[in-house]
Amino acid sequence: MLRLALANIRQRLMRTLITVFAMFLAAAVATSAMSLALGIARGGYNEYRAYYGGDILVFTPTFVGATATPTAHGAVHSAILYDSGFSLLRTIFPHFQTEGYLGLAQFPYVPISETQLQGLAAQAGVGAVRPKYIMPGAIDRWPVSIRVVAESLTEHLVEGRVPRPTSQDGELEVVVNAYGSPPARVGSSITLDVPVFRVGASGVPQADFSQAPRQYTARVVGIAAWPTREITFFRGPEEPPISEQGFVHSSEVYLDGQVWRTLWQEQSRGAPYPVLAVALSVTDLSQLNVTAGALRRAFPALSVMTVPEIARHVERFGLLDQFYRIPAEAWRPADGEVQQAHVPVELGLTGAILMFASAGMLLAGQMLAGLAERRKEIGILKALGARRRDIVGMVLTEGLLLSALGAVLGFVVVRGLAIHRELANQVSWLEVLRGTLEELLVVFGLTVVVALLFSAVPAAKMSQLPVMEVFRSE
């Protein structure tokens, strides 16, 4: 029956070409709706996005320091330089840049107010709002840093679980670094020396170690290990070097954000926590620039930069470690602006679904129109012993083959272009593969559904032709 379906496809060339072309267009539109609208997000953008914890960074531009400039770019430049230059840990281990990290704050900032935070959250197109805390700490005291649990903590747990906001017995729950000091095990209790916090005159949170820290008892509920790059040891001219996985060796504890805020309240005597930067996620990546523009208009006192803009800035000034750099060309289309599709994904997909439906109707129409000329063929097949289900199978196979042929062509052409662009953007093969499979599933899922749906009626009609009536009408 497959062979017969193939022969029919060859025989009815015009029908084949029309249907294949319609399916080609539908698959091409569906693929481009996903590839082009999400291409940047899926490409280099995703890597920067993970690094910064959002799609847009909002900074307070007012701060005092040697590298300060009044411009937004200057502020970001300085902030990145400050973060990467003075907090070496953050440069090497970008996962610290989520909600909390060790920051030996040196430059005084004017914090973003609570009203501004609420305003940012209420802005159209803004999804999650993640304040970026700079935690006071000291590198020579235990714990070096108290961090708020980050999303990535779960991935790095080697034992136990993440801490809860409140334990049943009221004890603090913490996760400790496996490579920190002193060593700890799950279920044991440790003492946290939490310093007195204060906010400096210019708004910078600081740890005041001139006063005695308060001791909190915390139960260790998990152990985490933070992998770094592979470390290579050179053992002399005769010996081959040895490479092994490195880990962060830092005495850190992680606890829930709500608990941390309580500690802050208790140790700062009720001072509000100064937020100096905010990472925002947008609800529609294709509207990234539009959302950023609206934020700039609504908050003229703040510096608003999209992550692609920051990425270009980082590349231009060589601010980050080479390891995290993506070539600037990746972000620079012909007109010098960050390339973003301005058609929302939903609209593109809606168009694609409509095109699939149209292609399906065309397929059904072509098949129904061919019903009269195929009466004899169906009659012969039935006389030779074909059952109804054989005829249905043959017609559905034809519909599927025709649709799949067009869909394959449309998908390969458009996805091929998208892959070319993604690879040029230094997107990893794994990301490209993941995106390709994801789109493949959607496009071919739609193709199969449309092909079966719209071939079903012609298939049913053909299978019901009474064999003798076919021959009598000859």
Binding site: M1, R3, L4, A7, N8, R10, Q11, K376, E377, G379, I380, L381, K382, A383, L384, G385, A386, R387, R388, R389, D390, V467, M468, F471, E474
Partner: protein, 225 residues
Amino acid sequence: MNEILRTERLNKAFHLGETIYAVSDVSISIPAGKITAIVGPSGCGKSTLLSLLGGLDRPMSGDVLLEGQSYRRLSEDALALMRRRRLGYVFQFFNLIPHLSALENVMLPMSFVGTARAQAREKARELLSAVGLSKRLNHMPLQLSGGEQQRVAIARALANAPSLVLADEPTGNLDSKAREDVVELLTRFNVANSQTFVIVTHDDSVASVAHHVIRMADGRVVNQA
């Protein structure tokens, strides 16, 4: 007489303004391994009877029994399964699938019974060689003469080695030479394979090779010899 097929008081009528009985109260017995010819004037119900024998059509009343199995309770699908395994069909107008080659047309019934493709191809080659078309395997039906097409149709009817082959005016659309060839083929296969042939025909040369002749008029069997 060892019978392969039997009918019991078959009736089939068409309603064309008035009710016309194409087959009326027909009870016949077809001997196994023989050639049976059904003859009679045009419109006497021969082809309708053949379609009833092949399970292509349902009678109003009566029954057909193939090797003792009644058609009456068989569903459409069960009849189709029976046709593909136990019956072969040869039509007056050949009825080859126009966009399949001669070889593919012969392979088609074998694909219904799940014969492996290579095996089906080999069997189809053998059958087409047996009907003298070994050099026409890959020709499309339109590239073949009427006689050649009918020979392909005969090869196709024999593809699954059916016990019974039904032929509806197999020579009706052929010239005299092709007619002789087809008659020779049918008799050869009958002798060689002991297959039963039921042939509806106007053609005396066909009727003359039959072991058993059923004569019909006005939907009724008027003579069996």
